[in-house]
């Protein structure tokens, strides 16, 4: 298993993928956090979907991680793309046969891949939380937001909780990407399907029937990042999101273990 993880990490650390992804994470984490403070007095709002997060909210112990929480959904989309591409590329390049000749246990290949991609996702989330906190801390005085409570014990607890929630959500999105990669066996198809579903189809469905937001997978995983929303409770999001991810992972694993490798 360790050998599989080491082997997979060697692929994940290639500069074009690692530096490219981490660069995007730093840029967007800084951007999302900066907008919270730079647009604090804007009438169009300073958060996602035109919401306004005021000085009093940002000045709370949880204020430091507001930017990081709103980056969570974006990190999830990145994870979905990376997990999907890393899984499906083995089919398009024909490299799966090499892997299975060197490690015939398909379960070890699958679990090793998942562990290595989780490590990649963790690095991504750590970088995001550090960037987001630093950006927020630098810009807060200019926006007349107090940071006194951010690093108290309650503030640290909020950072840890937010980190855990974003991690759960990002890993969930990543597993969805991996499942799509295994099912569709093409990076382009898997990423297109996943991103279109999460960004367009789900939003359209929710616009038509708002109660659907309680049952669609993307909405649950996004709700987890912020510890629940006014419409979706945290426990509901965890349960429904977990069921989607669990069933998808089980079905894709069975398919991977049994399917002939004929390309």
């Amino acid at each position: 298993m360790i050998n599989v993880v080491k082997s997979e990490l060697r692929k994940l650390r290639r500069p074009s993928l690692f530096l490219g992804t981490m660069g995007a994470v730093v840029f967007f984490s800084a951007l999302f956090s900066a907008l919270l403070f730079l647009l604090i007095d804007s009438e169009q709002g300073n958060s996602d979907r035109g919401r306004t997060v005021g000085r009093e909210v940002l000045g709370l112990a949880t204020g430091g991680v507001q930017g990081f929480s709103s980056t969570g959904g974006f990190l999830g989309i990145i994870a979905l793309c990376v997990f999907a591409a890393q899984t499906a590329q083995e089919y398009t390049y024909g490299t799966l046969r090499n892997l299975l000749i060197r490690q015939p246990s398909r379960m070890k290949i699958l679990v090793g891949k998942l562990i290595s991609m989780k490590i990649f996702a963790l690095v991504m989330i750590l970088l995001s939380v550090i960037t987001s906190l630093a950006t927020s801390f630098i810009l807060a005085p200019g926006a007349k937001v107090s940071t006194d409570l951010w690093f108290t014990s309650t503030g640290i607890e909020a950072i840890v909780t937010s980190f855990i929630n974003v991690t759960i959500s990002v890993i969930g999105f990543g597993i969805v990407g991996m499942v799509l990669g295994l099912l569709l066996r093409s990076p382009i198809s898997a990423i297109s399907f996943g991103v279109l579903w999460l960004l367009i189809v789900e939003n359209l469905l929710i616009a038509v029937k708002s109660s659907l937001q309680n049952w669609l997978p993307g909405a649950q995983l996004t709700a987890i990042t912020s510890g629940g929303t006014p419409d979706i409770t945290y426990s509901h999001a965890l349960t429904v999101g977990g069921i989607y991810v669990g069933i998808g992972a089980l079905a894709a694993s069975i398919l991977f273990l049994r399917r002939d490798v004929a390309n």
Binding site: G94, N98, I101, S105, A262
Partner: protein, 301 residues
């Protein structure tokens, strides 16, 4: 201790209604070079995939290095393979690609550079795979197959894209490996190459084995050909008549008459031609080569 590297019994693979491989049986002795030949679509790659545990047979059994093919984990650490051409990550260098596989298989990383040198890529190991020529990709595929210091090496068309010098190098490499005790199971369309290096041949046609055994036995089964040429081109038809009247199959090809007959019939042909006033310019008994045998055995029934 078994003395066969590969043994299959009644092995089949069915896709929908089509039998890609149909109830094949053959054995490959340890330490030999075995050519695996057949037209495109005859089932060679499907057979290799079944032997490597990549696809599940519909019927039959097989053993690799004495272990059943249902348990590839028991033998794959001693097997090197390149199936359906080289397959690597384009964004990684040749060296990194080999390191991915070395890590995965738990092989010493030091072997990577040794193998790159061995296949002539020592100075290009750090170049990205996507910049490699077809021949270089093929060499990298062979290097990957050699990572485990294999007891059995299975190569599917290893000389594809190689220049004549590269083909000669691969031929020498395979022979050296066999001399060191490695069994080499190799498919190729370059039958003249296989004829030079192979001890055994397994020949497939439409998913069925048409011959499996020592290459010498295959050649001995073939009827020799007598090739006759005359000084006067118009006499070729007369020679053809003589052969046909004597009960032999004969055709005119490349300004000569090719007659399927035993070698000891050649003096009789010479005598008959002289009696008919024909002066023969050439009368040469010839055993068919592997290519001719291949077409003879795998041509449409």
């Amino acid at each position: 201790m078994t003395n066969t590297a590969i043994s299959v019994q009644d092995l089949s693979k069915k896709y929908d209604d089509r039998l890609a491989v149909s109830h094949i049986n053959f054995e490959v002795p340890l330490g030999t070079v075995c050519g695996f030949v057949g037209p495109n679509g005859s089932g060679k790659t499907t057979t290799m995939r079944m032997l490597l545990g990549l696809i599940t047979p519909t019927t039959g059994q097989g053993q690799i290095l004495g272990e059943p093919i249902e348990h590839p984990e028991k033998y794959l650490s001693r097997v090197g393979a390149m199936i359906e051409g080289p397959a690597f990550y384009p964004a990684l260098s040749g060296q990194e690609n080999l390191m991915v596989l070395a890590k995965l298989g738990g092989f010493p990383i030091e072997r990577v550079q040794i193998l790159l040198e061995k296949v002539g890529l020592g100075d290009r190991g750090k170049s990205k795979y996507k910049t490699y020529s077809l021949g270089m990709k093929q060499r990298l595929g062979i290097a990957a197959a050699l990572l485990p210091e294999p007891k059995l090496l299975m190569l599917d068309e290893p000389t594809n894209g190689l220049d004549p010098e590269g083909i000669q190098e691969v031929r020498a490499l395979l022979r050296d490996l066999a001399n060191d005790g490695t069994t080499v199971f190799v498919s190729s369309h370059l039958l003249s190459e296989l004829e030079i290096i192979s001890d055994h041949i397994v020949m497939l046609r439409k998913g069925e084995v048409v011959f499996a055994g020592p290459i010498g036995d295959l050649m001995a089964q073939q009827q020799p050909t007598i090739i006759a040429k005359s000084l006067d081109h118009a006499d070729l038809v007369k020679i053809l008549d003589i052969a046909v009247k004597a009960g032999h199959h004969a055709v005119i090809r490349n300004d000569s008459v090719h007659i399927l007959a035993a070698m000891d019939w050649a003096p009789q042909l010479n005598k008959a031609a002289f009696a008919a006033g024909i002066t023969l310019a050439q009368l040469a008994p010839q055993l068919p080569n592997l290519e001719e045998t291949f077409f003879e055995m795998t041509g449409d029934k």
